[in-house]
Symmetry: C2
Subunit: 551 residues, 2 copies
């Protein structure tokens, strides 16, 4: 502290000074002019300062770096350190990461991998304890984590809080195991789509701090009024920002946060993450300083982190330097006083992915073509899918034409369990797609118009898993996801290239082009989303909570 | 938690419901309609609720109760519990109290008395560790508390943080003992009048969270931009609110707080405390909901207290019910779900003041008239005082006419030390005033136009101390302050009555009526305020840090 005060007072030269900059003042809602002095990992102040390293800030903006308050690294299909190497250069240096997917595959081992992989990366990476593993007892994921386990893991791994509590009925109805989880954590993220009124009060009484599932501006404003922090989420599939930002005004601004939740690797490279939220917010008419405040100070305040999220004396020196007032394309990114990225490139390396027990996570009984085949009959219950939503409809088959077959193959315990159903609306012809990504249990999902190609696609996944595409009996594309069947061990750039090749191969196939097949497929097994989903046992009616078709 | 969720969900009746009320929504910056449900010490939510006790809220407003973020109970000259009994009915239920004055008289014993006295009162009374005892080493107070002592006391007494760090040069210059204090506390209140620029950065780097000494709106806005919470103080003498509120806008509102610092007992009864800040803020054009937000949510946020300061699910049920939207004259005050005041009257009693070691705190050598007398000579250095400020001027005596004699008598260790000086501008004739309240060392200050009356006034203070007024050799008024010579053991109402009598007696005397003698006298010994002050050694030039006259 003495050295910091010496520097702040001007008696001692700063380590680094950004001279003559325009500085985002997130406390005052304005920009101020001055030299930003850095001492060690802290900001000494904005004023007139000399430094051992001086960077000309003339015409440049200095702003606190950003906080993505809710995301799943797994969605990007690259490992945490590769994600961070890609995203930190865009100005994000704090992350609340919920390793919910890998925990569903590999439990504590999976969580530990994520933590270890991110270790040493210059950023505040705050891992949450996944709250719902599995998301429903009816599912067969790779792991079951009850309250006692969750508390023990969180303590051992020093987790930041409890991840999105998706089991909102469990909270509202005081389920025992849920109560035990809630009582054990100070910080609890929420997930309460369309919950309102007295049930919402009950949910919040469970100690839930945030929500990222608002669908309307009214819902967002109401949740804020009841004391929640509301996240303006902009993911690759779920894009809520433009709608929800209508709820934000100068009085309630401090209760809003930015997050991405789920992002794919193309968007990661093309749009970035929180910088994209800021850009959209400003496009919607928000002032740049308000958007920057949501991206920084608000988030640290929400999670009770002192001395973070502002360019102010004693605050951690986590900031960006850029040529615009919206934090776009930062020229420099500093974390804890160190330059960690410049002109879009990280100045640090990632460690190689450890070939550990998360490789070879696909454990299935050998599959025969006949295992995947099942009879079609007129009037049988089938699943209808739609573009731009993961909500499905239960319907009756009228004709075999244009239907695809889908199977969900249990892949954690080699039980041999397989669920089957016909799907309308996908329109895939002359091939099959298979993948080990299937929320939340992440069993194998395979869809195609014939059992031979379906088997070939499953076979192509191998022991490590990933995404596979078969056309007329031939494997035409694959993205290996060796880590738990969810993430690639390859560098982010390679993952992007491989995925682009896969999408190019996909484009040669015949299917409903309004659909993004890999994404949609990954949600057709999520039995907590209506109206009908497929798990390893059969076709499941979500609202009736029962099976409507088994082979 | 289970019962709270049961109530919030509507499955179980609430303990208390305020039906059909208009509720201050400090998160949304608006008022909302609904029933406020209370379960135990918490709010279950705002919605449609039934309760075992139902209170009709039709046409009424419900708002979170208020937080006075910085005050000294001693200034009111009544003990903490009596203060709280008087103020809680006005809607204030949280207090950051700095027992700085009693600590200067009696050290840890004094602090412990304050804590014990407030114990059991239904309010969040958060005691701070006084940071500067004495405020200057040159002074002779009743106690010296160094960093090690401060840390030990704070730990033992579970103090909330470090009280206003008045020694700002000590922070900026990294004095050893000051550094040790700063490093030991997470929460540190500030006191940095007119400090700005790089020195202010240095001060804030010491971990200082707040400031209540801004003199201009520009200073307030600047301090906010540098990360401080700025208190809009409205005391009995120092009234900053109307000036500083010009700095508040919708962007920086969240960084402002309300406090009273020093209040006298008449104001306590006539104006209250934080309710008065709210009233003035609204008079200045602030919206009622913004003023209520400053009074509640902002303050709890500043000090990192979760689940306090709002009417929201899971929040502590600390709130008021009143017939106006500005929190004036609450009909009911609830603390932690219990009705603790109604129609201006507390529903709890205070314990009797314990006649403990803080009584009989006046320890002086017997005083002779000649001890108080000292020669006048033309051209000698004297003190000039002015109305409405505690700042004085050093000047040269031109004539004995109209001057008063002032003495400062060391009263903690019976050392016999007495400082003397002549005072211009007070104009007291035919009498003397003496008191044991004299910031910050609280020695005896006596002022009069003749030594005989001065001695009589000092004698009248007795072993317990207080304020005494002598006219033509006769004691015409006295307010006994048995507790450390600073606070009365009497009930608040009696203190008010006695003080009113004293002021009535004072009004019969001949003095400069633009001056409030007791208040002014209490600051003429404070050697950290310019330009010249009197302590037990002599007349002290503050800027030169040396004595200019000794008898």
């Amino acid at each position: 502290m003495k050295k910091l005060i010496d520097v702040a007072s001007g008696r001692v030269k700063a380590d680094i000074v950004i001279k003559n900059a325009t500085v985002a003042d997130v406390f005052g809602g304005r920009f101020v002019k001055g030299d930003v002095a850095v001492c060690g990992d802290r900001i000494a102040g904005v004023g007139k300062y000399d430094g051992n390293i001086e960077i000309d800030g003339t015409g440049k903006f200095v702003a606190p770096s950003f906080y993505d308050t809710h995301l799943h690294f797994e969605s990007v299909m690259i490992r945490p350190s590769e994600y961070l190497r890609t995203v930190i250069p865009t100005g994000v240096t704090a992350f609340n990461a919920d390793p919910h997917e890998i925990a569903n595959v590999a439990g504590e081992k999976g969580i530990r991998f994520m933590i270890e992989d991110a270790k040493g990366v210059p950023a505040d990476v705050r891992f949450m304890m996944p709250s719902c593993v599995p998301s429903a007892a009816e599912d067969r994921s790779g792991c079951v984590i009850n309250a006692a386990d969750a508390v023990a893991i969180a303590k051992k791994e020093k987790l930041f809080g409890l991840g999105e509590m998706m089991n909102f009925p469990g909270v509202i109805n005081c389920d025992d195991d849920v109560m035990k989880k809630l009582e054990a954590f100070d910080i609890i993220d929420g997930h309460a789509p369309s919950v309102s009124g007295e049930p919402l009060n009950a949910y919040i009484c469970g100690g839930i701090l945030t929500d990222h599932e608002c669908e309307t501006a009214e819902e967002a404003a109401d949740k804020v009024s009841r004391g929640m922090y509301v996240m303006l989420r902009e993911g690759s599939q779920t894009k809520n920002l433009r709608t929800l930002i209508k709820a934000v005004n100068k009085s309630n601004l401090r209760r809003f946060l930015f997050c991405t939740d789920d992002r794919n690797v193309e968007d990661l490279f093309e749009l970035g993450t929180i910088g994209n939220n800021i850009r959209l917010a400003v496009e919607c008419g928000m002032s740049p300083i308000d958007a920057l405040t949501i991206a920084s100070l608000n988030a640290f305040e929400a999670y009770g982190s002192k001395n973070r999220g502002a360019i102010a004396p004693g605050y951690y020196a986590d900031f960006i330097v850029c040529d615009n007032d919206c934090g776009q394309h930062p020229e420099k990114v500093f974390y804890h006083g160190k330059l960690v990225a410049e002109n879009g490139k990280a100045l640090f390396d990632t460690k190689p992915a450890k070939p550990d027990a998360l490789f070879g996570s696909v454990r299935i009984k050998p599959i025969k073509e006949s295992d995947l085949y099942f009879e079609y009959t007129d009037g049988m219950p089938i699943m209808r899918v739609f573009p731009n939503t993961v909500v499905t409809a239960l319907t009756e088959a009228k004709s075999r034409d244009g239907l695809d077959m889908m199977c969900c193959i249990e892949r954690h315990g080699a039980s041999g369990a397989i669920g089957h159903c016909y799907v309308e609306g996908f329109g895939l012809k002359g091939g099959a797609v298979a993948q080990t990504v299937g929320h939340d249990a992440h069993n194998i999902t395979v869809l195609g118009d014939n059992a031979r190609d379906m088997k070939a696609a499953v076979d192509a996944l191998g022991k490590d898993g990933g995404l596979a595409l078969v056309k007329d009996g031939e494997l035409i594309g694959k993205l290996p996801l060796e880590i738990g069947g969810l993430m690639t061990a390859a560098p982010a750039e390679d993952a992007l290239a491989t995925r682009k090749k896969l999408l190019a191969a996909l484009s040669t196939m015949d299917y409903n082009k309004d659909i993004e097949p890999f994404m949609l497929l990954s949600f057709l097994t999520l039995i907590v989303i209506p109206e009908v989903k497929l798990n390893h046992k059969g076709l499941f009616n979500v609202s009736k909570w029962d099976y409507v078709y088994k082979k």
